[in-house]
């Protein structure tokens, strides 16, 4: 498991309008590209050989699965921000303001009153 790499995915995609659009339109394709050429980048010259996803992490990212990501300890701010960017507008048009955010909360309802999965050491 690489909680760090999941967070790196969310971080690098959320801050880049082109990657974000591709993650919305075709998450599987973007994830494959990301694993090949974006995730390993330390900077424009240096590459890391250290990190990789598990199948469960790939699946959670491809499915935009906020509950699975929460349970893996993906950072709450990254997860909220990127999925607001992807879903807020269409949910607002369909079901009113903040409907996506409230549904996001509902998908995590079983964690209320429990210790959340840690997002750091």
């Amino acid at each position: 498991m690489s909680r760090y790499y999941v967070n790196k995915f969310l971080f690098t995609v959320d801050r880049d309008p082109d990657l974000l659009r591709r993650y919305k339109e075709n998450p599987k394709s973007l994830l494959a590209t990301w694993e090949q050429s974006i995730g390993p980048q330390l900077n424009s010259v240096e590459f890391s050989t250290v990190n990789s996803f598990t199948d469960a992490e790939r699946e959670a990212l491809v499915n935009h699965d906020v509950a699975a990501l929460f349970e893996m300890g993906a950072h709450f701010f990254l997860s909220l921000t990127i999925f607001i960017a992807i879903y807020d507008e269409e949910w607002t048009a369909k079901s009113g303001p903040l409907s996506f955010q409230k549904d996001f909360a509902k998908r995590l309802a079983h964690w209320e009153g429990r210790d959340y999965p840690p997002v750091g050491e």
């Binding site: 801050r15 990254l78 909220l80 750091g120």
Partner: protein, 286 residues
């Protein structure tokens, strides 16, 4: 020596600008009240007539990430850009450029190291909404040089609440010793109880209104003993997974000292409680 003329501790609601500048028919019901409260709060800074601002906030994974996340960092640049693409996208916050104050940044950094706070530093820092939101609310003309200080309230493991208090005390000593005739104000932003990306997010109130009420009382009475006796990383997590931003408000009270605030106001909004506190350190109020 420099004079510390005001210390402000505030929540930073990123939607303030959008909420209060939207067409009236699209505004939330509290928009007018929110604007009135913020403008009244702004006056507490204006009347202190600051010439330099020491700004305390926390980077929300905009410039800094988990490959290299500083516990405490000071900006030492001559100038700071502000507002990242994803903040414009989500919150509608415009871009800014703030002048720096390299002399106070250097003096502050050295003073912090001498007092046992081994700060990271940045000569190329872009500021995020934790610093720009209080600029928008308290100094919208954005016309004063700033010394930005970032804390880690965000990427565990975090420094302790006591460490934030002690850091505030150290910053105060350093401002008091700064060899300058300038009038300095310190402005910091954080949170009360807050849930982001969790089951308690986006409810009618913040996730823990009782904590919010208590926290404002502690801050407004300068009761650091009660804060340090009651507030831990674990207790904050129980109040909401992003509540740890309260530690930046503790830091600000550390700059003021254990004294009652001269001004305290709050506003319960959907999802959060907003808090607006100002201290006038002894001898500095006009």
């Amino acid at each position: 020596m420099a004079r510390l003329t005001a210390v402000l501790a505030t929540t930073h609601h990123p939607f303030y600008l959008k909420a209060t500048t939207a067409p009236v028919e699209q505004q939330i019901p509290q928009a007018a009240e929110w604007k009135r409260k913020v403008e009244a709060y702004r006056e507490t800074l204006t009347k202190a007539e600051p010439e330099i601002l020491v700004m305390v906030g926390a980077d929300h994974f905009h410039q800094f990430f988990l490959d290299n996340y500083p516990q405490f960092l000071i900006g030492k640049a001559p100038r700071y850009d502000a507002t990242f693409y994803n903040e414009e996208r989500e919150f509608g916050i415009p871009k800014y450029v703030l002048e720096g104050h390299e002399e106070l940044s250097r003096f502050m950094h050295k003073g912090l190291l001498e007092r046992g706070f081994d700060f990271a530093f940045s000569n190329e820092l872009k500021l995020d909404h934790s610093i720009i939101c209080p600029i928008i609310t308290t100094r919208p003309q954005a016309d004063l040089p700033v010394v930005p200080i970032y804390t880690n309230i965000f990427a565990p493991p975090l420094p302790s609440p006591k460490r934030f208090w002690d850091l505030g005390r150290a910053i105060r000593e350093i401002i008091d010793e700064f060899p300058s005739d300038k009038r300095i104000a310190a402005i910091g932003s954080g949170h009360l109880s807050l849930e982001l990306g969790g089951p308690r997010q986006f409810r009618e109130t913040g996730p823990d209104p009782e904590f919010d009420r208590q926290a404002i009382e502690w801050l407004s009475t300068g009761n650091i003993d009660a804060i340090l006796a009651n507030v831990t990383h674990e207790s904050m997590a129980k109040s909401g997974n992003a509540t740890h931003g309260f530690m930046d408000l503790i830091l600000m009270m550390g700059i003021a000292g254990p004294i009652p605030a001269a001004y305290s106001d709050s506003l319960s909004l959907f999802h959060t409680m907003e808090a607006y506190l100002t201290w006038y350190p002894e001898g500095a109020a006009r």
